[in-house]
């Protein structure tokens, strides 16, 4: 049975965290001498709601059930987005509430799809707020809270498990609150290094901070509408961003062992990392060759730079663009689509299917073929010498079907909601039925994998402003489903979840 008082209490506590983030954003607005009232109002609303939630949950005890954990995790992302959209509305940047919600959800889920056609004119405070949502959302709201609060009081393990991505969780410390602090420091270190590197490459301080936050969060919000190449025209910035996008796509537990414990060998022996490297290397090679032949008259460096930036950006689901990849040879589109689907490593800030699942699937397929030739063979699925239990393989299959199911269902609903660029404000069903399905499909994939830009019209060159408000809400939900890896959201809609026991 769901313990609502407990849920209100935890949500109330988490709202204080969001209030803290808003306070920092207000500070940035103050520095740039912008109107701080929108943030003040949002702050007041957040604090009041936080106090109410905490009040309702007073004396709610120390017990947190499994159901409460899943519900809290799902609700907290929703509540954070609902509150996080208020500054967008109060500063009058957005045309409607759906757009504001979309933008905030795109931030917290570190997707990076935007509805702003011209980002450069936005107030600095809003730009900073977008980046903050991605930085926090990338590592996870619960994760972030656990990392900065001394202790949560109740149910850390359940909340953490519901939010962490990937099928396998390796513990680096017996106590989760300590483990989270260590991994959090790796995240912070990576962000600081990224800021410093970008500054050295000649980026302005504001841009460097924003780009660094959205890079390590693998979000993809940029403070400028223009492509990287057009905005900065700096090879070093492109390469530096590529490196940090790549690192942010690595499992943070692995980074922790490598960076803070110096286990370099363990880094390259990790089967997930090998899969990740293999996909990046292969797709980069394919793209480089195609670009060299087709677009760049044999310029190897240019082709390589374009290829590696784009493949890493898409696979880590960051979604930055240095050039417009939708203009690339059409033969590369399936490759990019696969990368959107593939995702980087589990336990990183990236979204998508995640390399560890590919690695397990690869081994599993290998075994299936073996079983056809040798019916009596007993071949466990092994990853890096460790056997993957059957239960995890089954969960993986369930995940595959749900992921693909959500993808197609999402695309179908998006078509009905209207996503064509020709779509006018008048809802005309006959127009809807005639529109192109491919746009909706790529939007659905991009949202579900938390990539940001899609293919076709909704590539990096255009914002998603023209899709209908309904479609924006659907995309937001797809993002949330994708970020929390489907199960925590869908479990809430099962009958058994609400059954009294």
């Amino acid at each position: 049975m769901v313990n609502w008082r407990q849920i209100f209490k935890v949500l109330g506590m988490l709202l204080f965290i969001e209030a803290g983030l808003l306070l920092i954003t207000m500070g940035v607005a103050l520095i740039y001498k912008e109107d701080v009232m929108p943030y003040v109002w949002t702050l007041i609303i957040t604090l009041v709601l936080g106090i109410i939630g905490r009040g309702i949950g007073w004396n709610s005890g120390k017990n947190m059930g499994r159901r409460d954990g899943y519900l809290i995790v799902s609700l907290v992302w929703l509540v954070f987005s609902l509150i996080g959209m208020i500054p967008f509305i109060l500063t009058d940047c957005v045309p409607d509430v759906a757009s504001a919600f979309f933008e905030t959800m795109s931030g917290f889920t570190s997707t990076g799809a935007t509805i702003f056609d011209n980002i450069d004119i936005l107030p600095k405070g809003i730009l900073f707020w977008r980046s903050v949502t991605q930085w926090i959302g990338g590592i996870g709201i619960i994760f972030f809270t656990l990392a900065i609060l001394p202790a949560f009081g109740v149910g850390e393990v359940k909340l953490f498990a519901a939010e962490t991505t990937g099928p396998l969780h390796e513990k680096i410390h017996p106590r989760i609150s300590v483990a989270v602090k260590w991994i959090g420091s790796v995240y912070l270190l990576l962000t600081i290094l990224c800021i410093a590197s970008l500054l050295i490459c000649g980026m302005s301080a504001f841009d460097a901070v924003n780009i660094a936050m959205t890079t390590t969060g693998t979000g993809g919000f940029s403070p400028h509408s223009a492509f990287f190449h057009d905005q900065w025209n700096s090879k070093s910035i492109e390469y530096v961003t590529t490196v940090f996008m790549f690192l942010s796509g690595v499992n943070y537990t692995l980074l922790y062992y490598t960076v803070l414990k110096g286990r370099i060998r363990k880094f390259f022996q990790n089967p997930e990392l090998r899969m990740y490297l293999a996909i990046v290397a292969l797709t980069t090679a394919v793209c480089t060759v195609s670009l060299m032949i087709q677009d760049n008259q044999g310029d190897l460096e240019l082709s390589f730079r374009q290829a590696i930036f784009t493949t890493v950006s898409i696979q880590t689901t960051t979604g930055f663009a240095s050039y417009d990849y939708t203009l690339w040879p059409q033969v590369l589109m399936p490759v990019l689509m696969f990368l959107m689907f593939a995702g980087a490593c589990s336990g990183s800030t990236s979204g998508g299917f995640k390399c560890i699942r590919w690695a397990i699937l690869w081994e599993g397929l290998h075994n299936e073929f073996k079983r056809i030739l040798h019916p009596r063979v007993v071949a466990p699925v092994k990853l890096g010498g460790e056997v993957i239990p059957t239960s995890i393989q089954k969960t993986l299959l369930a995940f595959v079907s749900l992921f693909v199911g959500s993808l197609f269902l999402g695309a179908f609903i998006l078509v009905l909601c209207g996503v064509d660029e020709d779509y006018l404000t008048i809802y005309d069903f006959s127009l809807i039925l005639r529109q192109d399905f491919t746009e909706a499909f790529s939007l659905s994939l991009s949202s579900l994998s938390n990539v940001g830009p899609a293919l076709g019209y909704y590539g990096p060159a255009h914002s998603w402003a023209v899709i209908s408000p309904m479609a924006k809400v659907v995309c937001s939900i797809l993002m949330l489903i994708g970020r929390l890896e489907i199960f925590p959201i869908l479990i809430i809609f099962t009958k058994g979840f609400w059954r009294k026991e």
Binding site: K370, H374, P375, R376, V377, V378, A379, P380, K382, V387
Partner: protein
């Protein structure tokens, strides 16, 4: 020298039997009286009925002046515990039988030494290592490697090549019917150090003839292996690439671990739970099959006709023997049978089974080597021949350094196979003068090892 052995199982009993003939004072401890009763009548040893971990019992066995304490009960933790106790109570050296590969690693050695355990014995590992070492040579029965590329190998003599009954190839045994002196005239770089003929092991003189169906032991260097292969008419034996193992016990796992990665290995195990366990602990290339090793259909499906080596390593001796006989009938010339019952071994040798693996005997001989003064660093008990191979280090001022080998008066049933000088293996002739520091590989009749020790020290 006083030796206390805890555990009168197969290894313990075998050790006691071997050692009692060597004038050692042996105390054998076991909890079960009936195991000891028979030994007490047969052997000149003292037996003690008590728990191996009992401190009182150990004191009663006179542990405080024991030179060696050997724990070979079936229980690993018990062995480790009683070794620790024995060391504290005054035993000079302790040996424990273990079941865990991890404990054998070089980095953990110090750990056990600090705990008072001088050496660890893992019979399955010893057997697996030996099996894996000889599996690559399909035409060789058994093969041992010494330092400096010195190699001892045994080959069965066949007048008619079993793989070539129609005499299509010109592979012919060039040794049968000739005396060792005649063969020696050809100037080959090998020694025939022993011949096993029917149930008898011969340490041959120059007049001994090689007959068909003899198992001949050659001492040679690595570069001469192919020469022996040619002389014995085994040129057409296939290169081993595919190995099939029946029975997924510990021995199978250790064998798999020691076989090089470029071989294909299939392990057939009946128990599905054990199969899953095997999948976890064996190498990646190894294929685990669930099924009965005597199910011919399964064997055929899995390439019974294309494998070059076959090992039956189940816990059932009779089935292992039968499986190997069937495999040989099927044309697999490289077969290994695990035979645990020591009483079977002589009988099995007369059957067409291939190589017999007995891990207890291996463990016993491994422990035996620790007893011979520290100068001996390798004693091998050959399961098929009733003879010892030992490695001695020639001491400064010993008899052997004063005259050439033929003049120092080494008994007839002793054969010096080769020596390792400055890390290089060399063969020895009667005229060779040994120097201090040489390591000599000696082949000798059963239980005479102690007698020849004096020549080298």
């Amino acid at each position: 020298m006083k030796i206390v052995i805890a555990g009168a199982g197969a290894v313990g009993t075998h050790l006691a039997q071997m050692l009692s003939k060597e004038n050692f004072d042996i105390v054998l401890i076991d909890e079960q009286e009936e195991r000891l009763a028979k030994l007490n009548n047969d052997l000149d040893i003292m037996t003690l009925v008590c728990s191996p971990t009992s401190i009182k019992g150990m004191k009663q066995a006179g542990i405080e002046n024991a030179n060696l304490f050997i724990a070979v009960t079936p229980n690993e933790s018990e062995n480790l515990l009683c070794c620790m106790l024995a060391k504290q109570l005054g035993a000079k050296r302790t040996v424990a039988r273990i079941d865990n590969y991890e404990y054998l690693s070089e980095e953990n050695k110090k750990l056990f030494e600090n705990a008072g355990i001088s050496s660890l014995i893992y019979p399955e590992y010893l057997a697996g290592k030996e099996l894996a070492a000889s599996i690559g040579y399909s035409w060789v029965r058994q093969l041992w490697e010494f330092d400096g590329d010195l190699i001892l190998l045994s080959v069965k003599m066949h007048a008619i090549n079993p793989l070539d009954k129609q005499q299509k190839t010109n592979a012919k045994n060039l040794l049968i019917g000739r005396t060792l002196r005649e063969i020696g005239m050809d100037g080959h770089q090998f020694h025939v150090v022993a011949i096993k003929r029917k149930d008898e092991t011969i340490i041959p003189s120059g007049e001994e003839k090689i007959l068909s169906r003899d198992l001949v032991f050659f001492m040679t260097t690595r570069d001469q292996i192919n020469n022996i292969r040619h002389l014995t008419g085994k040129d057409n034996y296939p290169q081993v690439k595919h190995v099939m193992i029946i029975g997924g016990g510990k021995l199978a796992v250790r064998t798999d671990g020691e076989i090089p990665d470029n071989y294909s290995v299939k392990i057939i195990e009946k128990d599905i739970a054990r199969c899953e366990e095997l999948g976890r602990i064996t190498k990646h290339r190894t294929m685990i099959l669930n099924g009965d090793g005597y199910d011919l259909d399964l064997l055929q499906d899995e390439g019974y006709n294309h494998i070059e080596a076959f090992a039956a390593l189940t816990n059932n001796d009779e089935k292992n023997i039968l499986a190997c006989m069937a495999a040989r009938r099927n044309g697999i010339c490289n077969t290994y049978a695990q035979v645990e019952n020591l009483a079977f071994i002589d009988m099995v040798e007369s059957l067409d089974v291939g190589t017999v693996i007995n891990k207890k005997m291996l463990a016993a001989s491994h422990i035996y080597q620790m007893l011979l003064k520290a100068d001996v660093n390798n004693v091998k008990m050959l399961t098929v021949a009733d003879a010892d191979v030992a490695e001695f280090i020639v001491k400064e001022g010993s008899k052997a350094t004063k005259k050439p080998i033929m003049n120092i008066g080494i008994p007839n049933d002793v054969n010096i196979g080769g020596m390792i000088r400055n890390g290089r293996g060399e063969l020895v002739s009667g005229k060779t003068q040994l120097l201090a520091g040489d390591r000599v590989v000696v082949f000798c009749g059963s239980q005479t090892l102690k007698k020849i020790e004096r020549f080298f020290s």
